[in-house]
Symmetry: C2
Subunit: 247 residues, 2 copies
DNA sequence: CGGTCCCTTGAAAACGTTCAAATATAGTGG
DNA sequence: CCACTATATTTGAACGTTTTCAAGGGACCG
């Protein structure tokens, strides 16, 4: 199974109900724009529920033909590229409600790998159909422009010249905020990725990740137990990360 | 003068000629998509030539209301943010033919400062009008999607964990390629930005920039004379930068 | 001609990496 | 249920790259 495979549109819940895929994140992106029911129906026909992908399964691989983006419904996803020496370069993590594949729009093929970190369910959006719809509904186009532009800024965020502690604090706070945005606890959550992945994302070695987390715990900022994270002092964490999160 | 100021559409050359602003880079972006003359005329009406901005003048500032993107016609531009301690974080350099302001689309205001590094002429595109046009001409929408997506990948490029030499080699080669794309020499060009700016962009101190350039010169890779750069051995430079430029 | 800013160079220090090894955990098959 | 293996994490010590601090030289501009 792959995101880029063409599958027949076996809609999950195309019943008489008009509530557009309420568990699907994309509706939350588009609904605030005040679409009416007819527009939602248009959106609905190009949505396809796919999965589950189990931990370690690839959702797409670098070079797979690009024809769809996807919203995470549940679970979490990591995207990465592999350099010629085989080292991973993690590009991002995606939680429920977030969109995968936006950086592929400029290509014929996905420019990176996407792998499930735990069991993952997705909403698949045919990009050609979505783009066609965007020419008809300006709200859809605006939403896409906004999402793309946001990703530019997101990518620029970690580009800065910051210390290991600053980046780690920003990472934890960003994760907390994203969990909160989906209604989960902002104080306590699970890291679904390995230390190695966090390091590859923050440009640190797993050893440094481990040491920084240890230091944070010794300073009473967090409590880390394996992959269980509790933020004990968000204010001080924010002080550490303030230069990165300034925006 | 500022990009975000509303000015009357005093078109520079709206004569009988239908060649759509041939010096303006955006035409080169859109023309390959095979627009006909009527479509080009539509594009023409939302283009406005502005400038000149002289070296050190701001084109827009963080917080200015966003209402336009701009293509560089001549000169070069630097975008950056300033942290709370006053340190600059350079986000990018823009040469003729390149677009400024794409990362502002998700905001009401520009998220960074843009300053002219030398005398600069711009083509200003009202973004609301451009977006409206994009709903009518799918080629325009596709071009915008592609440009945005490219910027996501561009931002991700320097996010990697690379050495000073790797980043500097990639920077020089990228500049060369961009000059070449506009018909200038790929072997020899001027750096229009200070060492400090290069450093802020590549996450290095100006001292390190200076040292790496010196080393490259000692190794016969380049010849640097003040801001005049000659690439002597692009193959070896590419070997140094291969992990970054892999894509 | 003086001043300012940019660039270069050297030496010391800091931060993060690398290397090495111990510990812990989860998954597997007996 | 337990032993076993592979993988993930933690910790320590030495090392290396880049930064920091300091100072000198050079170009451009008034």
């Amino acid at each position: 199974m792959s995101l880029s495979l063409q599958r027949k549109p076996a809609l999950a819940d195309d019943g008489d109900e008009l509530t557009f895929c309420s568990t699907c994140a994309f509706s939350k992106v588009c609904l605030p724009h005040g679409f009416d029911k007819a527009q939602l129906r248009d959106l609905h026909v190009l949505v396809e529920h796919i999965g589950p992908f189990h931990a370690g399964e690839h959702i797409f691989r670098e070079g797979d033909p690009f024809n769809a983006i996807a919203a995470v419904r549940s679970g979490s996803v990591k995207t990465y590229v592999v350099d010629s020496v085989g080292r991973e370069q993690v590009q991002g993590f995606f939680l429920p409600g977030e969109l995968i594949g936006l950086n592929a729009i400029s290509h014929e093929a996905y420019p990176c790998d996407a792998v499930a970190l735990e069991t993952v369910l997705l909403c698949r959006f045919s990009f050609p159909m979505l783009a066609a719809l965007a020419t008809q509904i300006s709200g859809v186009q605006a939403a896409l422009f906004r999402l793309l532009s946001e990703d530019i800024n997101k990518a620029a965020l970690l580009a800065g010249n910051f210390s290991a502690a600053e980046r780690m604090a920003a990472f934890l706070l960003t994760l907390a905020k994203r969990h909160q945005a989906r209604g989960y606890s902002a104080h306590r959550f699970q890291l679904t990725m390995a230390r190695t992945d966090i390091g590859n994302y923050l440009r640190l070695t797993p050893e440094t990740v481990s040491r920084v987390l240890r230091r944070f715990q010794d300073q009473g900022l967090v409590r880390i137990e394996r992959r269980d994270v509790t933020l004990l002092d968000r204010d001080r964490l924010h002080t550490v990360a303030r230069e990165i999160l300034r925006a």
